[in-house]
Amino acid sequence: MTLTAPTPQSSKQAPHPSQAASSWKEVEGYLEALAFRKEFLQLAGELRDLVTAYPSSTDARYLAGKFLTRAGEPEAALIEFEMLKDLALRGSLSLEHPATESYIAAQLEVDSERLPCRRLREENLGANLAALAAFEPRAVEELKGATDATNLRAVDLWGELVLACATTKRPKRPSLSFYESVQNLLQTSAPVVFWGVHTGQEVLCFLRRSSRAELKRFHYLFEKDLPTLKEFLRLKDISAAIEDERLKIFGGPELFDAFTRIFSTGRYPPPLVNIGDRGDYFSRLEGGGDEGRRR
């Protein structure tokens, strides 16, 4: 399959001589037909020819990534998506880009050690665990030993790590109403408690708006499921927030003990804002909280 580009009047060089297709849309239609018929060998051959003939074309890379994912070749697809990232104009790749769906799906299908963003994931986790170790060494040991989450993974979304759901193959995003409802809270220093990691973006959103010196806000994150917490810690280097105690993390089976221990010092203000469903945690925490306040 070859492609003929449209020729603007100003172009002095004739485009590719073949007349097989006049746009990437047509190429896409042709590849779609091959994928639909499950003719994956021919599909791979066509994709290889395309990226060889048009190595600088983002459309070629996008189509190669998309159809290699469809053909069950996520590692090869990720090579193409990395090329796409290198090539693309700034700002042209976003959540709305049609490549996003395949890009996320391909990252969820390969082993985590084969992910292009593996280094960033491990660097973030390492920095965050090192910061956390100063306060919660036992929790850090448990986190290090925890397995990877099965239904959740920190993956790259065009330059930013996000949590993606393995079932829906989509990045997890807070609802639109979340951003609306916390708009005013972000301007205050009211301590916030997060009952669970959820999409991960809720905690990061609050942390982003609390780094200024005049707005020190305490954030408490509860997450019973260690693999989920571990994946969250891979998202971003938030070691600064952990170190200056803007973020206290209570994770795993020991979280209730840690909660009691920390609040019994009387140094931390009780949370005033709840994010998430506290039902799973609250009944056991009530005792601990009371104890902390009594002392």
């Binding site: 580009a5 009047q9 100003s10 990437w24 791979a44 983002t58 459309d59 090869a76 090329m83």
Partner: protein, 729 residues
């Protein structure tokens, strides 16, 4: 899969960001000619790269070279892969600026705008001619320009350079409404994008049912702008977009809702204040007056109606029959029409209630008004019964021909309290009859019936008829398909057992489906009835069972597995055997071209009527393969057309609708037991044409005599009369 990309894996030939910066720097020095030269080189080197054109468009816009910039952007939009360029693309502001810097004529979209306007006005003229005339005479609005945003037309404001974008919040709100079946009303055209988005989002149901979107807009200029923007003619004709516009918008609204066919809006978007007082009248106008309602009910409660029933029972009067049909369920619509014809042929007066468009939701008032005007002596419907039509007078007998084991009346745990003594259920087979009996229906309100066919539609054709030649085949099978076994299973899993809210239950379901599928794959030609699957599923439940709502869900999952996976697997198994035997096989119906092994035999969708009749005539052998029953509507139709049938034999006791109750084995119809037997019998009867034709002729004669629409309507009338006699003493 081998996917080597030698030498280019990690070495991009050029980074577009770097190229962009280089050209921007050149442009920044203000030398247009140098920039153009560099741009030409870039385009020459990368003629198939969208980015080269985008960079060109952006830089030329900066130089004020709008015409060439727009050409560059148009080239990029034309060549880019689907969806890669959109509102949020960083070059969008440049594209908008370039277009607003040009005259409208230069955008080359005028013919498209004129085409849209013409098509929309023509469609509206058939519904609201005065409004269409007024819009065509109105001016174009000031301060609004239509521009091309990556191939899609949108409205922009030339003063501010801003274009109309829809917010994510709006999209979410509309998506929620339209997906949950809430009709939306737009108060004003707004930026036009909102309404276009809503029209795109409005889902079309499995059977084609959908929702209307209402638009209230007094301002004719704005309506004209919307009409130029997109071709909405199909949506206007199908009433998926209903416009109340211009100075007479209120009268038009009254006229529409007073037909009692359209649902009231559930959510109003935009500024509703200019229309508010009139909105409050919509609810009232979709119902009939209490006086009119009372008059109808009084007639049915009175002696006049009782006397009419007595006359009908005695055979001195023929009943007036109200056929309640449904537009988007083909089988109900077609079967309803057949019975209507049958009753008419017997001399009964008939009237059919049916939606005219796929957005309608006939109100209770509509039913009562129709009944009040026609004064029927019985209501008839296929697969639906009184519980679906609560407005019907209690005394009006309801006759239901139940053809479907998933019909709505079969999903109610108890039915007897929701029907009336004069109602009768005509069941297609013993299985359905048993199901109604289990819901408390007394035996004297139950009867069995074979689906009839219309001998005027299905009849033998001469062998040299061109249509017979067109549909010539050794073996034919007429039923819709979904995809193939693997894909059917995947789709079933995606639709029915993906329940992220309830992981433990999902795991149980997955395990049950895995076991059911193992059972099917162990012998794909084996008949497995619902009872066996259900028994297996419930035996696999964890100790303590499931909460009642999950039990119902499990039952649904099992039935849907049968519908989407097992039943297809059963058919595929025999059809694949015929395909392997090198016989000229034809598969008619939807989606056979999607089947990985049988796509070569796909014959396409047939129109129910002339084409279906010709296909039965053109095939030497017609197959009936069904894991639930040997009798089927298609068999009666084929028999009347003179088809020779080979039918998969089922265990007589479990066969839901026995073909042998209607036709004699080997004399009128032939059964096969296994795939090998099927292939052998196909070969046998293909070689012995006379023997085959004689059997087919005997079946044809009997089917035309005993299973015509007239004889079926006559049987129904006979049962109805007997039932009335019993009730009225």
């Amino acid at each position: 899969m081998d996917y080597p990309i030698p030498g280019i894996k990690r070495a991009p030939v050029c980074s577009w960001e770097v190229e962009s910066e280089r050209l921007e720097a050149l442009a920044g020095r203000g030398n247009l000619q140098d920039t153009l030269d560099a741009l030409e080189n870039l385009l020459g080197d990368h003629p198939a790269s969208t980015e080269a054109y985008l960079i060109g468009g952006r830089i030329l816009t900066r130089f004020g070279e709008f015409r060439t910039a727009f050409q560059m952007f148009a080239a990029a939009a034309g060549m880019a892969a689907c969806g890669t360029l959109g509102e949020s693309h960083p070059d969008t502001p440049y594209l908008v600026t370039a277009q607003l810097g040009l005259d409208e004529e230069d955008l080359r979209i005028q013919p498209r705008l004129a085409r849209n306007l013409g098509a929309n006005l023509e469609a509206l003229e058939s519904i609201e001619p005065e409004l269409a005339r007024r819009i065509s005479l109105s001016q174009d609005p000031e301060n609004r320009r239509i521009i091309d945003l990556w191939g899609e037309l949108i409205v922009a404001d030339p003063r501010t350079g801003k274009f109309a974008a829809t917010s994510e919040k709006f999209t979410e709100e509309v998506k929620y409404d339209v997906k949950t079946g809430i009709p939306v009303a737009f108060c004003g055209v707004g930026s036009c994008q909102e309404i276009l988005k809503a029209l795109r989002l409005a889902p079309i149901g499995f059977l084609g049912e959908t929702l209307p979107i209402y638009l209230f807009e007094k301002n004719l200029e704005r309506l004209k702008l919307l009409f130029r923007l997109a071709d909405l003619s199909g949506l206007i004709r199908e009433r998926r977009l209903i416009i109340f516009g211009g100075p007479d918008w209120s009268k038009s609204m009254q006229r529409t809702f007073s037909t009692l066919r359209f649902p009231a809006p559930g959510n109003y978007l935009g500024d509703k204040r200019p229309y508010q007082p009139e909105f409050d009248r919509i609810r009232a106008s979709i119902d009939i007056s209490p006086g009119e309602k009372e008059e109808v009910l009084r007639y049915y409660a009175g002696d006049a109606f009782k006397n009419r029933l007595r006359e009908i029972a005695a055979g001195r009067e023929l009943p007036r029959v109200l056929i309640i049909s449904i537009l988007w369920t083909t089988v109900i619509r077609d079967m309803g029409a057949r019975f209507e014809k049958g009753f008419r042929e017997l001399g009964c007066e008939t009237h059919t209630i049916i939606e005219e468009t796929k957005v309608e939701e006939l109100s209770d008032g509509f039913f009562l008004r129709s009944i009040g005007r026609f004064k029927p002596d019985l209501a008839f419907c296929v697969s639906y019964a009184r519980p679906s039509y609560k407005a019907l007078p209690d005394q009006l007998p309801f006759l239901c021909f139940s053809m479907d084991d998933m019909g709505p009346v079969l999903q109610l745990p108890r039915l007897v309290e929701q029907i009336r003594p004069a109602d009768i259920f005509f069941c297609m087979g013993r299985f359905l009859k048993k199901q109604f009996a289990a819901r408390g229906i007394p035996p004297f309100q139950l009867s069995e019936m074979i689906p009839p066919a219309d001998p005027e539609v299905f009849h033998p054709l001469p062998p040299d008829d061109p249509m017979v030649k067109k549909f010539s085949a050794d073996v034919a099978f007429m039923k819709h398909n979904w995809c193939d076994l693997d894909q059917n299973l995947k789709d079933f899993i995606r639709w029915y057992i993906s329940d992220p809210k309830n992981p433990p239950f999902q795991r149980v379901l997955q395990e049950i489906v895995r076991k059911m599928h193992e059972l099917v794959l162990a012998d794909r030609g084996r008949v497995i009835f619902a009872e066996e699957f259900l028994e297996m599923a419930f035996s696999m439940l964890p100790r303590g069972g499931l909460p009642p709502e999950w039990e119902a869900r499990l039952r649904t999952v099992v039935m849907e597995y049968m519908a989407w996976v097992y039943n297809y697997s059963f058919k595929y198994y025999f059809l694949e055997a015929v395909a392997r035997a090198d016989l000229k096989l034809r598969l008619y119906g939807n989606r056979w071209e999607r089947h990985s092994a049988l796509s070569a035999f796909a014959g396409g969708l047939l129109a129910n009527g002339e084409e279906l009749n010709a296909a039965f005539n053109g095939a030497a052998i017609s197959l009936h393969i069904h894991a639930g029953s040997t009798m089927h509507q298609r068999v009666v139709e084929g028999a009347q057309a003179g088809a020779f049938f080979l039918v998969k034999r089922l265990d007589g006791e479990k066969d839901h609708l026995r073909l042998t109750d209607c036709f004699e084995e080997d004399r009128e119809v032939v059964f096969f037991d296994s795939a090998a037997d099927l292939v052998e019998k196909c070969r046998h009867y293909l070689e012995r044409g006379d023997e085959r034709r004689a059997i087919a002729q005997r079946m044809c004669e009997r089917a035309r005599r005993e299973h015509s629409v007239r004889s079926a309507a006559g049987h129904m009338l006979e049962v109805y009369r007997g039932h009335l006699k019993r009730l009225l003493g």
